[in-house]
């Protein structure tokens, strides 16, 4: 998917040389990947090896699309904090490939002018920094948090220690005071006009906007480093850096989209498929990939090399030791999207915070109705 898909043909020649297998690569856009892969499973046309974000592994394991990881050697030597995504039976179904915790990219020059060497680490000071940035440039914004993406809201929620679901993940738990804190903080950033209420479809070129100083802080994953390096003419490396996301009292667990490699349960060449997984998740391949597209290796050995000691990567390395643990259930992907939709309505002033929390629980309870019935009947754990 995305850059991983676009660039993986470059990892194949080495594999073909070593094993003699030809590999055909197809790439999918993130926005359509979920439905395309589900349809592929229904139509029995999944590729032998494919990438999945960790959050989808439970779902694809449940529908019988994935072969379990039998070779334990594939799952050793992982970076601390990284673990294999499991299916409903607790068995590992995916080999971690790259890790993508969310960090904040910030404009060093803009922050310096507002009196900050680096962004503060707790929420209140972070917001105060936003207010100062906004006061200096009222037409611009301090933060960019796209309103149809759930990652920042769920990062804030993860840092408060909120548990979004309860009763064996069969009901929503969004009325929990921790989640309320996270939502209130998130919404306040828009209410104070520190962040533009914009969707991803409206900000067509975030890198250009970042270069122009339209916003000073952009929470994002590691792949943005590739875009920033590619367009160094617009935004020289000296102008930006990265830091961990702020938490209520300091940095904590954040959400991110870690990518894993899976093998289709109906692959006709399982041995070749697993050897491809072994090749792609080797620390040598992961380092090549880091150089090409900026994804962060899941193998601990890769992190011992000088390539990964750049200062801009330090924030990621620290953050990776502290991932959130998210419910591995089929509905989780949809729950996050729908909760974000309700949060968007709060930001736009269509709904109060408490009414929104009730609406989130109602909506999530409805989404989980089928799962609840199956869990109660003992067909699902």
């Amino acid at each position: 998917m995305s850059y991983e898909g676009d660039y993986s043909p470059m990892l194949m020649p080495a594999f073909t040389r070593a094993t003699g297998f030809q590999v055909e690569v197809q790439t999918l856009p993130w926005t359509a990947a979920h439905e395309k892969l589900l349809t592929a499973q229904a139509g029995d046309s999944l590729p032998d090896v494919f990438m999945l974000p960790d959050g989808w592994v439970g779902e694809f394991a449940l529908i019988g699309a994935l072969a379990p990881v039998i070779d334990a050697a594939l799952l050793t030597g992982l970076f601390p904090g990284v673990s294999a995504a499991t299916g409903p039976n607790g068995q590992p179904y995916a080999v971690p490939w790259s890790v993508a915790p969310q960090v904040q990219y910030y404009r060093r020059d803009l922050l310096e002018r507002a009196g900050y060497a680096a962004p503060p680490e707790d929420w209140d000071s972070w917001r105060r920094m936003g207010q100062r940035l906004k006061a200096r440039a009222p037409d611009n914004y301090a933060f960019l948090m796209l309103l149809n993406w759930w990652d920042t809201l769920f990062t804030f929620a993860g840092q408060t220690g909120a548990r979004p679901l309860r009763e064996r993940d069969t009901r929503g738990n969004f009325r929990d005071p921790h989640f309320r804190d996270a939502l209130a903080f998130y919404v306040s950033l828009f209410r104070e006009r520190l962040a533009p209420p914009a969707l991803s479809t409206e900000v067509q070129d975030p890198v250009a906007a970042f270069a122009q100083g339209y916003f000073a802080v952009y929470p994002y994953g590691p792949t943005l480093t590739l875009d920033l390096h590619r367009r160094a003419a617009e935004i020289p490396p000296a102008l930006w850096s990265t830091a961990r996301m702020p938490g209520p009292q300091g940095p904590g667990r954040v959400s991110g989209i870690a990518a894993s490699l899976c093998v289709s349960a109906r692959s006709r060449r399982p041995a070749a498929a697993w050897s491809l997984v072994r090749h792609l998740t080797s620390s040598a391949s992961e380092l090549t990939y880091q150089r090409l597209i900026g994804t962060l290796p899941a193998r601990a050995a890769a992190w011992d090399t000088p390539q990964l000691r750049q200062p801009a990567l330090a924030a990621f390395a620290e953050q990776m030791r502290d991932p959130t643990r998210e419910p591995m259930i089929v509905e989780w992907e949809r729950i996050r999207i729908e909760v974000q939709l309700i949060a968007e309505r709060v930001v736009r002033g269509q709904l109060g915070i408490d009414a929104a929390l009730v609406a989130m629980d109602d909506r999530v309870d409805r989404l989980l109705a089928k799962r609840r019935a199956l869990v109660e009947a003992g067909q699902l754990t």
């Binding site: 589900l38 449940l62 529908i63 149809n148 969707l199 409206e202 939709l341 199956l374 067909q379």
Partner: protein, 293 residues
Amino acid sequence: MTRQERTAWGFVLPVLAIILFVFALPTLLALALSVTDYSIYALADWGALRFVGLGNFADLLTTPLFWRALGNTALFALLGVPMAIGTSLAAALLLHDASVRWKPLWRVLLFAPYVTSVVATAVVWRFLLNTRFGLLNRALDWVGVPPVDWLGDPHASIPAILLFVTWKIFGYNMIVFTAALSAVPHDLMEAARLDGASRWTRFRHVTLPAIGPTLLLAAVMSVAGFLQIFAEPYVMTLGGPAQSTTTVLYFMFDEGFKWWNLGQASAVAFILLLLILALTFVQARIGRRYEWL
């Protein structure tokens, strides 16, 4: 059966078979799906499939987003059909005027948007509609109107998409109307002019009755098209902001193909089918009253 009849059946059967396989059969299967709770759990294990009767329909009626999607779709159709047909007719009338030169060139230029790719044109239009540096807001600024957040304001998003859709599709009906206009009897027009009928009276009493059947056809097709509007919101706004451009078909796509709740999605499809049938029936009745059919 006579030989002639046999030949006729021979010609018709292949088409009938295709209609049966790609239309009637899927419709029946969808109806069957719509009374089950087919979801991703059923994809995993058929044992999880249950018969729920009209449960999906009852469920839909209590889903606020479904009602909003219906409302959004109605708004798209109510505003979009007059906008699209009006533009087509206006363009056709302009092109029909005897004083216009290079008619074929204009026709090609105005028809071109219809045959270009939705995705490519949507990218261009997203730039045109950009709040900060879009050409549309520049133009508004020029006449002293403050910038409009076209794709980010839940109240402006439907009009913004309609601008795009109208531009994209008006060329098709324009060509149809051009053909219809050339069939308006000349002698009637001349007679009306000699009797001193104004431009508007001639349009109302000579042109309009003559192109009535074409107008009805365009209306039926446009209503059906706007009720099924999907690609434009999908590529322009992803159904946002605040789900203000989520249409019935978008809702169905999300439920069915994104989340694999095919039971629920089939129920939506069925409701949409009934809606379109009902509206077409009403339009046909209106057409018959004016003797256009």
